[in-house]
């Protein structure tokens, strides 16, 4: 069985040309699509960015097929023999790398994270900025890029705060002295959320209260218009909510001092 075709200079040049062209196309798609996406509005931007890894995969598969066709006599036996040999070699040498590549392919249809999603992996939280074949990059709120291999998909929990949509819930917490009028507090906190310029008003505002050891905890849960504004939104809710509560005369107990205030 003759596995390889007659390798001559022309075949090698053709193979190299295909590989080079594939690289150029991948580079172009990675530059041009984000540029186009930046000119689109929110939802369309996310859809456009999501096509980048897909296009790259298609280009790589097409290029691989063309190169194999150039280098190998493409009979069924030959293809199986080649893939088997490659799999054995790569399995030993690049186990994790290949695992990441396969996980990268899995992400294309399982979509555990997409560009624009806000995810948390092993305690690192940030926005997914790019998805490569082996790894994806997230940008943390502190402007640090973290590269995470797709391999994490197999064993780690991946928390996705908005899961491909624009709806990302934020929560602002308030700790109040137990002696207060809850109706007044709920109204003030609801007004605080409803009047925030960041609020996605088509989504519900929820206020949850629970009793703690030293305070009553209120959580205002709401959605910002733009997920990137989540920290500004929470800050806005916190600061204006505190002002509104102070205007009501509500007291804020110091942590660990349950009797602060009137000593009751």
């Amino acid at each position: 069985m003759e596995l390889f075709q007659q390798l001559n200079q022309a075949a090698i040049i053709r193979g190299a040309l295909v590989a080079g062209l594939a690289l150029v196309l991948i580079g172009l798609s990675q530059k041009v699509i984000p540029l186009i996406a930046d000119r689109l509005s929110g939802r369309q931007r996310l859809y456009a960015l999501a096509t980048v890894p897909l296009i790259r995969l298609v280009i790589i598969l097409a290029a691989l097929w063309m190169i194999i066709s150039i280098l190998v006599d493409p009979t069924t036996e030959n293809i199986f023999a080649l893939l088997g040999a490659l799999g054995l070699a790569l399995g030993f040498a690049f186990k994790d790398y290949v695992g990441s590549l396969i996980a990268g392919i899995v992400t294309l249809y399982e979509l555990p994270y997409r560009i624009g999603d806000w995810v948390s992996v092993e305690g690192v939280y940030g926005e997914v900025k790019s998805i490569g074949m082996r790894a994806f990059e997230i940008l943390t709120p502190d402007d640090t890029v973290v590269v995470i291999p797709h391999l994490k998909l197999w064993g780690e929990k991946i928390f996705n705060a908005n899961d491909g949509s624009r709806h990302l819930q934020c929560a602002a917490k308030f700790y109040l002295h137990p002696e207060h009028d809850p109706r007044q507090v709920i109204q003030a906190l609801e007004d605080t959320a409803m009047t925030s310029v960041y609020l996605q008003i088509s989504k519900p505002v929820t206020i949850v209260a629970s009793e703690g050891l030293w305070a009553t905890e209120y959580r205002v849960k709401a959605y910002p218009v733009e997920p990137r504004d989540q920290f500004r939104f929470t800050t806005d809710l916190t600061l204006r909510g505190k002002q509104a509560l102070m205007a009501l005369g509500v007291r804020f107990p110091a942590p660990g001092a349950p009797d602060s205030g009137d000593g009751a």
Binding site: G42, M194, V197, I201, E226, D229, T235, Q243
Partner: protein, 392 residues
């Protein structure tokens, strides 16, 4: 001229509002025409666009003067009398207005013509201090009243909703007596989300479709110049106005009605910037030798050359928030915008200046507002970004 006397204004329930659309065939046709003109052999057009110049402001004022909304006031007078009931069985009618529709001016003129009380909006400080004394006018319920803009009775601030809540409570309990209340469409969209209370039954001026818009623009030109004006497309000389038939408007006016959402104020603003003349000819004063003998001609920029204004995207995080806030409040004084937005004064000032430089914002009657001709682009932009927009 019968058309001139016809009142084009009609007030309808909000659900009956119909936004005009550009016909698909015209959109395709205008696209193909544009491509064809790029490739065809250059010939000598009857009125080449490069020979024309934009009308000077003084001529624009004559050919396309701003509206005094008389037709709208006339249409509302009868409706207001019928719908507001009496002191014994009072009812409040809400008149919703879209940006550029002149709603506040119309209601102000309505109050004057009917002799009803015109209620001034509360001062921003009264809103923020929750000064219920402003509502004292509701105690004398005998005379009908007109409040031009409900949107000026609230602020998007944690203490900014009390007055409007109390006002709606008094209206709903009939304590305020009969009246007419105006409300900008964006304010109404916001208040309906925020305040879970019944709102008075609302009407809105029906959008001008292409035929109505064409007649209205012709009326404006006739009123401004005192005689009939013919408008021709600058690249091919085709008639833009008046329409050749009562059943079909020109392609330009069809596109104009769609882009302006049928809001006459916005259409007029775009229209005014599309008017051209031959050099050294003063519109309204002289007649060109090529013009019809029964009037004067003005040239109109082809629709394909009317730019779709693109909202600048690189002006920082305060930019969309500021534009949205201005629409929800139907304009804000500069200092109040600084107070309401959760940014430093420096950041807000910088954004206001940048948007003003770009032409997106303008100051009218001491308030920052979205420029009328930018409104379609700003609305499309905010809608795309997921912000609450009006229902129209």
């Amino acid at each position: 001229m019968n058309r001139k006397k016809q009142n084009l204004w009609e007030y309808v329930p909000l659900a009956d509002y119909a936004v005009p659309q550009a016909t698909i065939s015209r959109t395709i046709k205008s696209g193909i025409k544009d491509i064809w003109q790029r490739f065809r052999r250059p010939d000598t057009p009857r009125h080449p666009a490069h020979d024309l110049e934009y009308l000077p402001a003084s001529d624009v004022e004559k050919v396309a003067p701003p509206s005094h909304w008389s037709g709208a006031v006339r249409a509302l007078e009868i409706l207001a009398k019928n719908k507001t009931g009496s002191a014994e069985a009072p009812s409040v009618m809400m008149v919703t207005g879209l940006p550029g529709s002149g709603n506040a001016q119309i209601l102000s003129r309505l109050a004057k013509s009917l002799g009803w009380r015109l209620i001034p909006a509360p001062d921003p400080q009264q809103i923020l201090t929750q000064d219920l004394a402003w509502l004292d006018w509701t105690k004398s319920a005998e005379t009908p009243w007109v409040l031009c803009d409900l949107g000026k009775t609230y602020l998007r601030h944690v203490r900014g909703l009390t007055l409007v809540r109390q006002l709606l409570a008094r209206i709903n309990s009939k304590a305020a007596g009969p009246g007419v209340i105006g409300c900008d469409s964006w304010s109404l969209a916001y208040l309906r989300r925020v305040l879970p209370v019944p709102f008075p039954g609302a009407v809105v001026a029906q959008a001008f479709d292409d035929l109505s818009l064409g007649r209205w623009l012709s009326q404006r030109a006739h009123d401004g110049c005192g005689r009939q004006i013919h408008f021709h497309q600058a690249d091919n000389g085709e008639t833009v106005l008046p329409a050749d038939a009562d059943t079909k408007a020109s392609a330009f006016v069809n596109h104009l009605a769609a882009r302006s959402f049928g809001i006459p104020g916005i259409a007029l603003e775009i229209w005014r910037r599309a008017l051209k003349r031959k050099p050294d000819k003063t519109a309204g004063d002289q007649t060109s030798e090529t013009e019809p003998t029964n009037g004067i001609s003005i040239w109109v920029e082809p629709w394909e050359k009317i730019p779709w204004l693109v909202v600048p995207l690189d002006l920082g995080p305060a930019s969309p928030v500021l534009m949205h806030s201005l629409l929800l409040h139907n304009g804000l004084p500069w200092n109040l915008a600084v107070d309401l937005l959760p940014f430093s004064a420096t950041e807000t000032d910088r954004t206001i200046l940048a948007l003003t430089d770009a032409g997106v914002l303008q100051t009218r009657h001491g308030e920052l507002k979205i420029s009328t001709r930018w409104y379609p682009s700003v609305k499309a932009y905010l809608n795309g970004e997921g912000y609450l927009t009006d229902q129209f």
